[in-house]
């Protein structure tokens, strides 16, 4: 088993991620924070990141959240990507917080 260092550029947070875990699993396993955690199956899109340095392997992810062009541009879901080198990433996904308030706002619109 190899392990690599993952750096979340937004916060400077780093963690070690084994090659058999996804970037998201690796972060969660060590109770690190920074990438929003959703379904962990490539379906919901909240863990979207941009890989700015490093290499990785990837699996199929929902086209609702990652277009073919984005995938080519290394904008991927952290739950579908395993590191094959040290990786630096930027967080793109957003967990919509305060949804009750958002819903009120949506109704008011």
């Amino acid at each position: 088993m190899a392990a690599f260092t993952v750096t979340i550029e937004d916060t400077g947070e780093t963690y070690r991620c084994p090659d058999y875990k996804t970037l998201l699993e690796g972060m969660e396993a060590l109770a690190k924070k920074g990438i929003p955690v959703g379904c962990r199956g490539g379906g919901c899109g909240v863990c979207k990141v941009e890989i700015v340095a490093g290499t990785y392997s990837k699996r199929v992810m929902s086209r609702d959240h990652v277009s073919e062009e984005e995938e080519v541009a290394h904008k991927v879901l952290a739950c579908r990507v395993k590191p094959t080198s040290d990786v630096t990433l930027r967080v793109l996904g957003k967990m919509k917080k305060n949804v009750c308030r958002d819903v009120n706002a949506a109704i008011a619109e």
Binding site: G38, C39, R40, G42, G43, K96, C100
Partner: protein, 309 residues
């Protein structure tokens, strides 16, 4: 109540990203029985104790989510009557021919205001639960394979106009409101739980900025012990658990929320109470929604209102 009209949830059709991975998950880990595959590539499953040919169908697609949710109605005359009632109400309906889904009769398909596709049908082949109708045993070996739920029980959908949905389900399809969560204005529903039977819910809906979203499809287990066993099997198989085992305040069911390999949230649950048409609905206020959804934690987790497919 004599059960007429709409009887129960009959099938959920769910999109998956990797078909064989999903077949393995729903077959081996969930313990559903595969009952067939059709020319368009859909794979059909049923729970061990269900008698009709299928209740859960998956289809490979490039995005996750729910294609359709179907309800079985009492008979063909009921199907015709409900279709004309829907039309009279202003809902556009479409007939899907018998056999378009394996071993399933004609379906009446329509969209509700939240954009979800709902289907009604009267006929689906009775393939049995593996036991005879004369002098059966209590259960079959299939009841022990994998998580092995008893039946596909209900779903929770997310979308904008849940008030419009509720009107169609109540006024046309004969559903009743069992529980609701109110927003801070005390008027607007954030969420509603509706029944067509004596179950605490057959379908539920949450108000959400995007239409047509799936929160979860739920499967019934028959004890809390089985819910814990399901959690063990999920861990053994590295299934992504959202929350649980825990209990809902709403409906009082014990629960695990988890995700299938494509990120569709599923639930295995047990319990809840029986509902009768003379009972008044239960209301939860916005400030206690946490206890309503997750009774032990008394707070929402960050995924409940935001992670859907």
């Amino acid at each position: 109540m004599a059960m007429t009209g709409v009887l129960r949830p009959g099938h959920a059709v769910v999109r998956v990203l990797d078909l064989e991975e999903s077949v393995d998950f729903y077959g081996r880990v969930m313990g559903l029985k595969e009952t067939g595959r059709d020319k368009s590539g859909r794979v059909y499953f049923k729970c061990w104790d269900e008698r009709d040919h299928n209740s859960f169908v998956i289809r490979k697609a490039d995005r996750a989510g729910l294609d359709a949710f179907g309800f079985k109605v009492r008979d063909k005359a009921t199907l015709d009557r409900l279709e004309s009632d829907l039309k009279a109400y202003g809902v556009t309906t479409e007939r899907m021919p018998a056999g378009e889904m394996l071993e399933t009769g004609e379906r009446v398909r329509f969209k509700v205001p939240t954009g979800h596709v709902i289907e009604l049908y009267a006929e689906k082949k009775d393939v049995g639960n593996g036991m005879p109708y004369v002098n059966p045993e209590a259960w079959t070996p299939d009841a022990e394979k994998g998580i092995a739920p008893i039946r596909m029980d209900h779903c929770l959908i997310y979308g904008g106009d849940i008030d419009g949905n509720r009107k169609i389900f109540e006024d046309v399809l004969g559903f009743s409101l069992v529980e609701r969560v109110k927003l801070e204005d005390g008027v607007t529903d954030l969420a509603t739980w509706l029944t067509c039977s004596t179950k605490a819910h057959d379908i539920a809906m949450v108000r959400h900025a995007e239409d047509g979203k799936l929160h979860h499809v739920s499967f019934l287990l028959d004890s809390w012990e089985r819910v814990l066993r399901a959690a063990d099997l999920m861990s053994m198989n590295r299934v992504s658990i959202d929350i649980g085992p825990t209990r809902h305040g709403v409906t009082r069911g014990t629960t695990i929320y988890f995700f299938d390999p494509s990120g569709n949230r599923m639930e295995t649950f047990c319990g809840g109470y029986q509902w009768y048409p003379d009972m008044q609905p239960v209301t939860w206020t916005w400030d206690e929604v946490g206890a309503g959804v997750f009774y032990h934690d008394r707070k929402l987790n960050e995924r409940f209102l935001s992670v859907v497919t």
